[in-house]
Symmetry: C2
Subunit: 193 residues, 2 copies
DNA sequence: AATAAAACTTGTCCTATGGCAAGAAATGCT
DNA sequence: AGCATTTCTTGCCATAGGACAAGTTTTATT
């Protein structure tokens, strides 16, 4: 019996007919990235929509002072994309880099558009993914104002323990909006409790 | 000669046929809000998509300690909405309140859906609006990490001078992630330069 | 105009977090 | 295994911004 396709966990039979599933999945292409490879580099226009099957990736921007700020982490099942560059078709300010070897499935923009405009379920799905990303960004954004660094770290530990395990302290720190030094102290504090 | 409809500045003839424009505009309903009226209250599920023709509004959340944190400001031409509550159909954590008397045009969710799934240009337009909001949120979010409070204020002054003119200091301060006291000092510093 | 309520400013002191630098520990490379 | 590099920890001091409280100014209400 053939193993079900990874993407059948993404385009669930509850939301798509078998025919739709097959159509959609047939347009994806499996790709591999080695550790440190870039999914996307600053200045490029995002042309792919990736679902990650294995491995870890990180997106980051480099600010005017040259500081590297992590904007997100990606692991199994996540969508690796810069939404705004993909949909607005303009050059990105972000970099997305593999933190380990990765396997992913990709769809290019034109194919995405064809599916988006021809399949109602596909566009509902795409819109939900985008809105979910918006929601997470907003939560993080509010936490930056309302919560202390320690609480943001505890929340990340709870919500994405795989990130804590697999990502270096300095990348986590910049995501939380603090320095690696401060995060190290926060970790110590937590371990002493 | 009849004055062109406000919404023809939103659904531009460059993107829509005259017929599409008429169809879309005919579904909107003009509504008025008095100062301090709520477009949306915490706990409700957002069911409207508003384009604001005149007046000012503010969205905010109340955090666990009871602090009021402004998340956005809206003025002429802006879309007043909680995207995630509207599309995910779940209760919002946000409040959106008129800061002055407002006139707006609204579309309810079901009508939005009908237009979204039947008019390709309408869904491109809707998606672009959503992605643009995402982009702005991300920029603000990065600025919270990379820039000092004073720089965030200067950026807001440049990008939304109407907000500086029309919104109280404490609301601007919470949007910038600082206290009203600090913003008052920042203003003084700027005026002394 | 008189009063009350908000909005804003300013002073004093405090705290979370940053900057820098030195070590220690872990990881990668030959 | 041995060396280099990166990652992480820790100490010391600095600073942006917060907490609180007292004024002052502006705005709204009668």
């Amino acid at each position: 019996m053939p193993e079900p396709h990874f993407l059948s966990n993404v385009f669930l039979s509850k939301n798509f007919s078998t025919e739709e599933q097959n159509t959609i999945i047939s347009h994806f292409k499996k790709v591999s990235f080695d550790k440190n490879d870039f999914f996307l580099k600053e200045g490029q226009t995002e042309n792919q929509y990736w679902f990650i099957e294995s491995g870890f990736a990180r997106s980051y921007v480099v600010d005017t002072e040259g500081n590297d700020i992590s904007t997100n982490f990606y692991s199994k099942g996540d969508i690796v994309i810069d939404w705004t560059s993909f949909f607005l078709r303009n050059p990105t300010r972000e970099n997305i880099q593999a933190l380990s070897d990765c396997v992913a499935y990709q769809l290019d923009f034109d194919t995405f558009q064809t599916l988006f405009h021809s399949l109602e379920n596909f566009r509902e799905h795409g819109r939900t993914n985008l809105v979910s990303s918006y929601f997470k960004l907003k939560q993080q954004s509010i936490a930056m104002i309302a919560d202390q660094a320690k609480d943001r770290y505890l929340r990340l530990m709870k919500e994405k323990p795989q990130v804590i395990q697999n990502v270096s302290l300095k990348h986590i720190a910049s995501f939380l909006g603090i320095t690696d030094t401060s995060l190290s102290r926060i970790r110590k504090e937590i371990s002493e409790e």
